[in-house]
C-alpha cells in the first residue's frame, strides 16, 4: 500500500506560489483560506531558501491525538483527513500542529466557536462518497479518487514540491541531491534526516537492496 507524502526540495523552490494558486483553483478556496503556503528564510540575503508547506500528513499526527471528538482519520494511503460534521471548532488541532495547517475560515460564531476546521486533504476529499457534490462542498476536489496527485505538486513550476508514494519521491529527491555534487548538504534537512553527505551513497545502496528484497517477497 502506498504511503503518501509531500516533500519540498528547497534547492528547487523559487517561491513562485504556483502551488498556493493551484490549490485555490482546484478547491475554489475563498479569500483568506490558504491550505498551502510558501515560507522563506533568509529572505533577500545569501542563503535564502523557500519551501512550500501545508498539512504534512504526519505518520503520528498530533492533531489526531488531541482532537476531543476524534474527527480525524487516516486513509489507507496515509493521508490524514477529518470529518467536518464531527468537528466542533475547538482549535486544539491548530495548537497541536507544528505546521500551522488547520484553519478556521468560518469563525467566529456565537460564544467564540470557530466553525469547522479546514486543511489540506492531499486532494483526497473527506468521508463522503468520492467525487460527490457534498464532498466537494465540504472538502474540495478529490483527485486521488480520479487517479491524480495533488494539484499543487502536479503544477509546481520547478518540480520542487513532490507528492506521492514516499519511496518514489524520496528516490527522486535523493537522486537530485546526489547529482548536485553537494551530496545533499545544500538540501535543507539532509544532514538531519539522512546523516553526513558521504553516507548518502551508502543509503542509496541500502535502499536498492531493500527494494529488491521487497520485490522478492
Amino acid at each position: 500500500m502506498a504511503r503518501m507524502k509531500f516533500l519540498c526540495d528547497a534547492e528547487r523552490c523559487i517561491e513562485c506560489n504556483g502551488c498556493v494558486t493551484a490549490c485555490k483553483n482546484e478547491h475554489e478556496l475563498p479569500w483568506g483560506v490558504n491550505r498551502r503556503r510558501v515560507v522563506t528564510i533568509n529572505d533577500g540575503v545569501p542563503g535564502e531558501k523557500s519551501i512550500s508547506v501545508s498539512c504534512m500528513h504526519c505518520s503520528d499526527a498530533p492533531c489526531m491525538a488531541v482532537c476531543p471528538t476524534d474527527c480525524f482519520y487516516k486513509t489507507d494511503e496515509g493521508v490524514v483527513l477529518h470529518n467536518k460534521d464531527a468537528c466542533i471548532g475547538c482549535g486544539y488541532c491548530f495548537f497541536a500542529c507544528p505546521f500551522g495547517a488547520p484553519q478556521f475560515p468560518n469563525g467566529p460564531a456565537a460564544f467564540g466557536a470557530r466553525g469547522k476546521m479546514d486543511k489540506c486533504t492531499f486532494c483526497s476529499g473527506g468521508p463522503e462518497e468520492n467525487g460527490t457534490k457534498e464532498e466537494f462542498e465540504k472538502y474540495g476536489r478529490n483527485r486521488i479518487s480520479e487517479g491524480k496527485l495533488p494539484a499543487c505538486a502536479e503544477m509546481c513550476s520547478t518540480k520542487a514540491l513532490l507528492a506521492g508514494d514516499a519511496p518514489v519521491i524520496s528516490d527522486i529527491f535523493r537522486d537530485r541531491a546526489l547529482r548536485r555534487g553537494k551530496a545533499g548538504d545544500a538540501a535543507w534537512g539532509w544532514t538531519t534526516a539522512y546523516g553526513k553527505p558521504e553516507q548518502a551513497q551508502e543509503r542509496t545502496q541500502e535502499r536498492t537492496r531493500e527494494q529488491k528484497q521487497e520485490g522478492g517477497k
Binding site: I14, E15, P30, W31, R37, A151
Partner: protein, 991 residues
C-alpha cells in the same frame, strides 16, 4: 522572517500564512528572531484570523459549476447564469470537453488543459506532455481558469459622461468612435491618430492590427515590445540577423554555465527555471549579476551586485580578462565574426580598477564569472529588461552578443543568447504585428515592402497609398508608444508630421507601463478622443477619468481563452490555442472588433480579401483565424513564418508527447523530425516540411534539419574587407562550403540553379529574391536541393556601423548618482528628429548632472511573480491578488533608518520629475544601500490617493497601488526609443 507577500499589517485581513510562517520559522530556527514580527503581533494576527475572514466566495455553499459565475452570480448578465445553471442540471459528466490552450502571462508558453462542462470552464489540468513546461506552472499559470469568472472585467461598452462611466450599446460605441476618428482624419490627417496594439493579441490579431491601422492611413502604432525588448530586437538583429532568442528554454539543459544579467527569471519566467535547475543538477554553473539579490540570485552559484546602468563596463571587464588570458575562440572569431579588433581596443581600456569604480564589482568577482563562462562551455547568457530598458539598451545587448561571439557560443546548443521575452505573444507581435517602422516580417516601410504586402493582401498598392497622407508619411516610421505623450504635448513646429496627435486607441496595453506618468495624464487631458479596448478597463480608464469629463470610450475585448489563434513563445515556437469558452459578457475577440471598425471605415472588403468572414453566435462578422494565419504564411518569407500552417500547428498540439524535452525534436509519430511549435524560421511552404529552427545559426546541422549560419544582411564587404563567412564555416551539407550572399533570381541563374524551379515557381520568382518570391521556390531550391541558407552566409558584426555607437561604449544614465562619471562618460548629442520627435540626450543630462544631491538614491523597477505587466488583469484575479495585496518598495535598512522609516510603514518615494509615490516600506538587504526597488505592476493610486471612484463601477482591480511610472523620468534609447526605467533617482521620506 519577512515574507514579502504577507504584509499582514497592511490589509485588514491577516492570513493564516502568518501563523504558518511563524510556526515554520520556529521550526527552521534560523535567524527568525531578526525578522519575525513580535509575539504580540502574532497573537493579534491569530485573533484576527479567527475573527474575520473574507466572505467573498463562500466556499462551502458552492459547487464547482456555479463557481463559474462566482459569488457575484446574481449580478452576472447574459448567458453566464444560464449556462452555469444548465451545467448544474446536466450534472454528471455529460458535455465535458478538454480544450488545450496556452497560458497568457509570459513568453515561456506553458500549456493548459481546460476542462469545460457545458460551456463553463470548471477545472484546469496540467499538461505533462508539453515539452516546454511538463505540466508546471507558476502562480499566474495556475490561475488562468479565473478568466472564466472574470468578475472584474469590463462587461459592456462604456462612455465617459460627466466624469462617470455609463453603459452604452456596441452600436452606439462603434458609431460614435468611428465618426470621431473619421472626422479627425479629415481635419488633421490620419497621422493625428495613434494606435496602441498588443503583445497579448494572437499572431493573427497582431498581424491584422498592422493591416488595419495601415488601411486607416498611418504608421502611428506600436505595442509592448517597444518598452520591452525593442533594443534587443534591433541590437541583436543588427549583429547577426534575427532579433530573437537564439536557443530555447529547453536547450539550456545542455548548458555548462549560465549568466543571468538583468533577468529575474525566478519571478518573471518561473517555469524556465525548471530547465535551469535541472541543468544545475547536471553540473551547470550559474551566476546572477543584478542590482538586487533576486530570487534568481538565491538559486545561483555566484552573485555580483552591479550598480544599475553599468552593464557595458561589467561586460567589457569580463572580456578584458578573457582576452588577457587568451580564452577567446580565435578560430570562430576569424571565420564567423567581423570587426572584433575594434571592440578589443575599447575593451582593453576597461582595466579592473575602472570596472570596479564604475560598476561596483571587484576584480575577483568579474574574473570569476568570466572564468566560469570561458572554461565551462557551452555557456549561455540570459537577459531581460535589466539590459534593455536603458538609454544605452541597444549597446548593452550588443555587448552581450559580442561576449558570446568571443567565446564561440553562438549557434551552439547549450550556448547562445537566451533572451527571455515578456508577454505571451510579444515575440509574435514583434514578428508580424503593429510596429511603427515595419510591415509584418520585418519588411520595413520601403516602397518595395509595401508592394510585396499589397500583393499578399490582394489589394491595390495605389489604393493603400491613398489612405495615407502621402507616400512620404507612408514610408516614415511612426511615433513610438514610449513617446505618444510627446506626440500630443510637443510644440507642433518641432514634430515631424503635420498635426499633433488628437486621438489614442489603447487596444490591449497598460498605460502604467510607460514612463513619465505625470505628463501622460496631461496628454490624456489634451486629447480629443481616447478609446480603450481591453478585457479589463485598465488604468487608462481611471487615469483619464481623473483628468477629464468626456471623450473616453471603453470597449470590452475578450481574452485569448475566448477565441482561437497562435502565439509565439520566446523560443520562437508557435502554439495554437483552442477556444475554451465563448466570450464572456458582451466582449468580442479583437479581430472581430477590428472588422466592425473596418466596416465603419469602409475598407472591410480590402481588409479580408483572402480571408473568409463568418458569423459568430451573436451574428457579428468574424474573420476566420486560420485563414489569417495562412495569409501570414504567404507573406512572411524573411523570418520563416511560412511553414507554420494551422494544420501543422494543431498536429503539434495534439502530439506534444512525441517531442523530446531537451532537443524539442519529435522522434517518430506524425510530427517526426519537426521541432516543437516549428520555431521560426520555418522556411518555405508548409509542404516543404521544414522542421523549424531550434537554435539559430547552428552550422553543425543541415538547413533542412534546422541548421543555419549568420545572415548576410549588411552587404558583402565593408571598407574593403569581406563580410562573408570564411571557407568551411557553412552549415552542414551545404553545396557552398564558404561565405555567400543572400539569394535572388540573378544568383540562382548564375549558379545554374534556376532550372531547379518548377515552371509555376519560375513565374512568381522572376525578378524576385528569397524574401519576395511568393512561390517559395527560391527557398525550396536553395535549401532542399542545395542545402544552402537563403539569407546567405556572412559574419556576425561586432561593429554595427549604422548605430550611434558602432562599438558599445559606456554612457552614464541620464539621471546618474555619479556626477564625476557623467563628465567622463556622457550621453550623446540631442536628436532633432527621431521617430518624428525631438529627443534629448546630453543637454538634459548636463542639466540634471548634480541632481543626485537632492535625489541621492537610485530607483529601479521590476517584476513580481504574481502579476504581469501593468497588472490590471492579474490584480483583478482574487487568487493572485491575495498574494500581493499592496504596493511597496524595497529599501535597505541603512536608507530606511536614515529616513526614519520602519518596515511596513508608509513612505513617500519622490523623483526629479515631481513624481510622488506613497507606498509601504519593505526594509530588506535584497537591495544595497543607495538603491530602492519598486515593482511595476501597480496602478489605481495617484500620489497617495485611491482612484477607485474613477473606475467603472465593479470593474476596478482588487488590488490597487501607486504606479512606479508616475515618477519615472525622461530618457530614451538612441536607436529604438526604448524608455529608461531601470535607472533613475529618487529620495524617500516618511509618510
Amino acid at each position: 522572517m519577512l515574507i514579502r507577500k504577507s504584509k499582514a499589517h497592511s490589509l485588514a485581513k491577516p492570513e493564516a500564512s502568518v501563523i504558518l510562517a511563524a510556526n515554520l520559522a520556529a521550526n527552521f530556527g534560523a535567524n527568525s528572531a531578526s525578522t519575525v514580527p513580535q509575539g504580540d503581533f502574532l497573537r493579534g494576527a491569530a485573533n484576527n484570523i479567527l475573527a474575520t475572514t473574507m466572505d467573498r466566495r463562500t466556499f462551502l455553499k458552492r459547487s464547482g459549476l456555479v463557481a463559474g459565475g462566482g459569488a457575484m452570480a446574481s449580478q452576472l448578465p447574459y448567458n453566464m447564469i444560464g449556462s452555469a445553471e444548465a451545467a448544474d442540471v446536466a450534472k454528471e459528466k455529460t458535455g465535458v470537453e478538454i480544450k488545450r490552450t496556452i497560458c497568457t502571462h509570459c513568453s515561456v508558453g506553458c500549456a493548459v488543459d481546460a476542462v469545460v462542462e457545458n460551456g463553463v470552464w470548471v477545472r484546469q489540468e496540467p499538461v505533462f506532455d508539453s515539452p516546454i513546461n511538463l505540466g508546471a506552472h507558476c502562480a499566474k499559470g495556475a490561475s488562468v481558469r479565473e478568466h472564466g469568472h472574470g468578475e472584474h472585467r469590463l462587461k459592456y461598452p462604456m462612455k465617459l459622461v460627466d466624469g462617470k462611466y455609463k453603459k452604452i450599446s456596441w452600436d452606439q460605441a462603434l458609431t460614435e468612435i468611428s465618426d470621431k476618428l473619421l472626422a479627425i482624419r479629415k481635419e488633421s490627417g490620419p497621422d493625428a491618430t495613434y494606435w496602441v496594439g498588443s503583445s497579448k493579441h494572437s499572431n493573427e490579431q497582431a498581424y491584422m492590427f498592422r493591416k488595419f491601422v495601415s488601411f486607416f492611413g498611418t504608421n502611428n502604432m506600436d505595442h509592448q515590445a517597444r518598452v520591452c525588448h525593442s533594443t534587443t530586437v534591433a541590437g541583436v538583429a543588427n549583429t547577426w540577423g534575427y532579433g530573437a532568442m537564439t536557443n530555447s528554454y529547453n536547450d539550456m539543459q545542455f548548458s555548462k554555465a549560465a549568466l543571468y544579467i538583468g533577468s529575474n527569471a525566478a519571478e518573471a519566467h518561473p517555469v524556465s527555471m525548471l530547465h535551469m535547475l535541472h541543468a544545475k543538477e547536471s553540473g551547470c554553473k550559474m551566476a546572477v549579476v543584478d542590482p538586487r539579490f533576486t530570487r534568481t540570485a538565491a538559486k545561483a552559484d555566484y552573485f555580483s551586485r552591479i550598480r544599475s546602468g553599468t552593464d557595458i563596463p561589467f561586460i567589457w571587464g569580463m572580456l578584458y580578462h578573457i582576452f588577457k588570458n587568451g580564452w577567446e575562440d580565435k578560430e570562430y572569431l576569424k571565420a564567423r565574426v567581423h570587426g572584433i579588433e575594434k571592440v578589443k581596443e575599447e575593451v582593453m581600456k576597461w582595466t579592473p580598477d575602472k570596472v570596479q569604480d564604475v560598476t561596483g564589482i571587484p576584480e575577483a568577482e568579474v574574473l570569476r564569472i568570466a572564468d566560469m563562462l570561458a572554461n565551462n562551455k557551452p555557456s549561455t547568457v540570459v537577459w531581460c529588461m535589466g539590459q534593455t530598458q536603458h538609454t544605452v539598451g541597444n549597446a548593452n545587448v550588443r555587448a552581450m552578443c559580442i561576449l558570446q561571439l568571443v567565446l564561440g557560443n553562438v549557434g551552439v546548443s547549450g550556448g547562445g543568447t537566451n533572451i527571455f521575452r515578456g508577454h505571451d505573444n510579444v515575440q509574435g507581435a514583434t514578428d508580424v504585428g503593429p510596429n511603427p517602422d515595419s510591415l509584418p516580417g520585418y519588411y520595413g516601410l520601403a516602397t518595395g515592402s509595401w508592394k510585396h504586402w499589397c500583393a499578399v493582401w490582394g489589394v491595390d498598392y495605389e489604393w493603400v497609398k491613398k489612405q495615407f497622407a502621402s507616400q512620404v508619411m507612408m514610408e516614415k516610421s511612426g511615433i513610438t508608444v514610449s513617446r505618444w505623450i510627446d506626440g500630443v504635448l510637443e510644440a507642433n513646429e518641432n514634430i515631424d508630421q503635420d498635426s499633433n496627435l488628437r486621438s489614442v486607441v489603447y487596444w490591449g496595453m497598460a498605460p502604467n507601463s510607460q514612463t513619465r506618468g505625470l505628463e501622460m495624464v496631461e496628454a490624456m487631458k489634451k486629447l480629443d478622443l481616447l478609446v480603450v479596448i481591453d478585457p479589463y478597463p485598465s488604468a487608462t480608464a481611471a487615469m483619464s477619468a481623473m483628468m477629464r469629463k468626456d471623450g473616453v470610450y471603453l470597449l470590452p475585448a475578450c481574452t485569448q481563452f475566448e477565441t482561437v489563434g497562435s502565439a509565439t513563445a520566446s523560443n520562437r515556437s508557435l502554439q495554437w490555442r483552442e477556444k475554451v469558452i465563448e466570450p464572456l459578457f458582451e466582449s468580442k475577440p479583437d479581430h472581430t472588433i477590428m472588422y466592425a471598425f473596418a466596416k465603419k471605415f469602409g475598407f472591410e472588403k480590402e481588409f479580408c480579401q483572402n480571408i473568409k468572414v463568418e458569423k459568430d453566435k451573436q451574428g457579428w462578422d468574424e474573420p476566420n483565424v486560420e485563414d489569417i494565419l495562412r495569409e501570414i504564411n504567404k507573406g512572411c518569407w524573411t523570418i520563416g513564418y511560412t511553414g507554420q500552417s494551422p494544420e501543422r500547428l494543431k498536429l503539434h498540439m495534439q502530439n506534444m508527447h512525441t517531442f523530446d524535452v531537451k532537443t524539442l525534436r519529435a522522434n517518430g509519430g506524425p510530427c517526426d523530425g519537426d521541432y516543437f511549435g516549428l520555431p521560426w524560421p520555418c522556411y518555405g511552404t508548409p509542404e516543404m516540411k521544414h522542421p523549424g529552427t531550434p537554435n539559430l545559426y547552428d552550422t553543425s546541422k543541415h538547413v533542412m534539419d534546422g541548421g543555419g549560419n549568420f545572415r548576410a544582411n549588411f552587404g558583402v564587404e565593408k571598407d574593403g574587407v569581406s563580410l562573408l563567412a570564411e571557407d568551411g564555416s557553412a552549415s552542414k551539407g551545404a553545396d557552398l562550403q564558404m561565405g555567400y550572399p543572400e539569394f535572388d533570381h540573378v544568383l540562382l541563374k548564375k549558379l545554374g540553379w534556376w532550372d531547379d524551379l518548377t515552371d509555376d515557381e519560375k513565374k512568381l520568382a522572376e525578378g524576385k529574391n528569397w524574401k519576395t518570391d511568393r512561390s517559395g521556390g527560391i527557398q525550396r531550391v536553395v535549401m532542399k536541393v542545395h542545402g544552402c541558407h537563403p539569407f546567405g552566409n556572412a559574419k556576425a558584426r561586432a561593429v554595427v556601423w549604422n548605430f550611434p555607437d558602432p562599438v558599445p561604449v559606456h554612457r552614464e544614465p541620464m539621471y546618474s548618482p555619479r556626477p564625476d562619471l557623467v563628465e567622463k562618460y556622457p550621453q550623446g548629442a540631442d536628436k532633432k528628429v527621431f521617430w518624428r520627435l525631438p529627443t534629448l540626450f546630453k543637454s538634459l543630462q548636463d542639466k540634471v548632472k548634480d541632481i543626485s544631491k537632492e535625489f541621492p538614491i537610485v530607483m529601479t523597477s521590476g517584476r513580481l511573480v504574481e502579476y504581469e505587466g501593468g497588472g490590471e488583469e492579474t490584480r483583478s484575479n482574487p487568487w493572485l491578488a491575495e498574494l500581493q495585496q499592496e504596493m511597496f518598495a524595497e529599501i535597505n535598512p541603512k536608507d530606511a533608518n536614515n529616513a526614519s522609516v520602519r518596515n511596513g510603514e508608509f513612505m513617500w518615494v519622490e523623483t526629479p520629475s515631481k513624481g510622488r509615490m506613497k507606498l509601504r516600506a519593505q526594509v530588506t538587504e535584497r537591495v544595497a544601500p543607495g538603491t530602492v526597488f519598486l515593482p511595476f505592476h501597480f496602478s489605481g493610486w495617484w500620489q497617495g490617493k485611491d482612484m477607485l471612484e474613477y473606475y467603472p463601477e465593479g470593474a476596478a482591480p482588487i488590488v490597487r497601488g501607486e504606479s512606479v511610472n508616475q515618477g519615472t523620468t525622461y530618457g530614451y534609447d538612441s536607436v529604438t526609443m526604448m524608455q529608461e526605467t531601470k535607472t533613475t533617482l529618487c529620495r524617500v521620506t516618511k509618510a
